[in-house]
């Protein structure tokens, strides 16, 4: 059983990295185009998030080798990040409240 922890060394074909590199270039170009072509509103935000998550996923899965790691470390690393979403939710509510009170007091006065 002690040997279970023995490390193995696998390398991947250089083509894998070149492909991902190319895809990251393409996605970056697309997200730059979102700004260049002046997309507005929901479309802009959706596209920004789409390309951002696509790039992040490629970097983490392939460049950082998470795709080839065992599920234990993948789960231990990724689940805590869901707390970020909770924090975003809390702060959205908080900032809307702040915005409202500011507007209220700037208009009505103290």
């Amino acid at each position: 059983m002690a040997q279970e922890n023995k490390q193995e060394v696998t390398t991947h074909k250089i083509g894998v990295y070149l492909w991902i590199w190319g895809l990251l270039f393409v996605f970056s170009f697309f997200s730059y185009m979102v700004d260049y072509l002046n997309f507005e509103g929901l479309l802009r935000w959706a596209l920004i998030l789409l390309f951002m998550f696509a790039k992040a996923a490629l970097i983490m899965a392939i460049f950082m080798h998470l795709f080839w790691e065992r599920w234990t470390i993948v789960n231990v690393l990724l689940w805590p990040m869901s707390f970020i979403l909770v924090f975003i939710g809390i702060m959205v509510a908080e900032s809307e409240y702040t915005f409202f009170t500011r507007l209220f007091y700037f208009v009505v006065g103290t």
Partner: protein, 234 residues
């Protein structure tokens, strides 16, 4: 491949097996790599806090937020190109991430010199990035008059978030560049083939160190992806 490790169950049953094995949980992960990942997870939370407070400040101010597309525009032969420098910085950092991934591959294949060359390329890419960032800061501070407490474009919080977020990221890049140069030298000298002891930790090391270095460097690139989206594009 080791025939013993091949017998480990994969996927979900692998997860329960690893965690319930009453042994080390992260099987086939060197301890240095696990520690780097845990550090990166904590760093993720630090950058998340910065970006979430950016969101909070931006959503709660009644003054209009500066248009990043105009603030970071570059006059290129008389034509105003939005975000040009930032786009080039993005491509440079992605390229250095690609060379880093290839360096890790060559390291594990024990191609010492190729690995060192690609580490050096990565370091030069990072240095280029920091150089362009220094140019950007100089332009914004001395020509545009952006300060942490005020700026001519809109909401006063803009400056403090710009310096805080890009500054903290730039610090990460700079530290990475220093370590990339150190690792390139160690690799070139053959430290990882001869298991020469490090001058600082006095521990033997091997090519896993390149992968751990790579994790840090890809993380820096990863953070930039989010900064690019939330600070410059949003």
């Amino acid at each position: 491949m080791d025939h013993v490790t091949d017998k480990l169950p994969k996927g979900l049953s692998g997860l329960t097996h690893d965690l319930g094995s009453d042994q080390t949980a992260f099987k086939k992960v060197p301890w240095g790599k696990a520690m780097m990942w845990i550090f990166l997870l904590s760093d993720t939370f630090i950058f998340s806090c910065f970006l979430i407070s950016l969101m909070t400040a931006r959503a709660s101010t009644t003054v209009e937020w500066p248009n990043a597309s105009e603030v970071f525009g570059l006059n290129f032969f008389g034509v105003e190109v939005p975000l040009l420098l930032i786009a080039i910085m993005t491509f440079v950092l992605i390229t250095s991430s690609g060379t880093m991934a290839i360096a890790v591959k060559f390291g594990y294949e024990k191609k010492r010199k190729l690995c060192a060359w690609f580490l050096l390329l990565t370091a030069i890419g990072g240095l280029t990035f920091v150089g362009m960032q220094a140019f950007e800061w100089t332009k914004l501070i001395f020509h545009e008059g952006i300060r942490p407490w005020s700026n001519p474009f809109g909401a006063a919080q803009f400056g403090s978030f710009f310096f805080m977020v890009t500054g903290f990221h730039g610090t990460h890049v700079s530290i990475g560049v220093i370590f990339l140069f150190i690792m390139a030298r160690k690799t070139w000298r053959g430290d990882f083939d001869t298991a020469r002891r490090g001058y600082f930790t006095s521990m033997k090391s091997n090519y896993e160190a390149i992968e751990i270095m790579g994790l840090y460097w890809h993380f820096v690139d990863l953070v930039w992806v989010f900064i690019f989206a939330f600070f410059y594009l949003w």
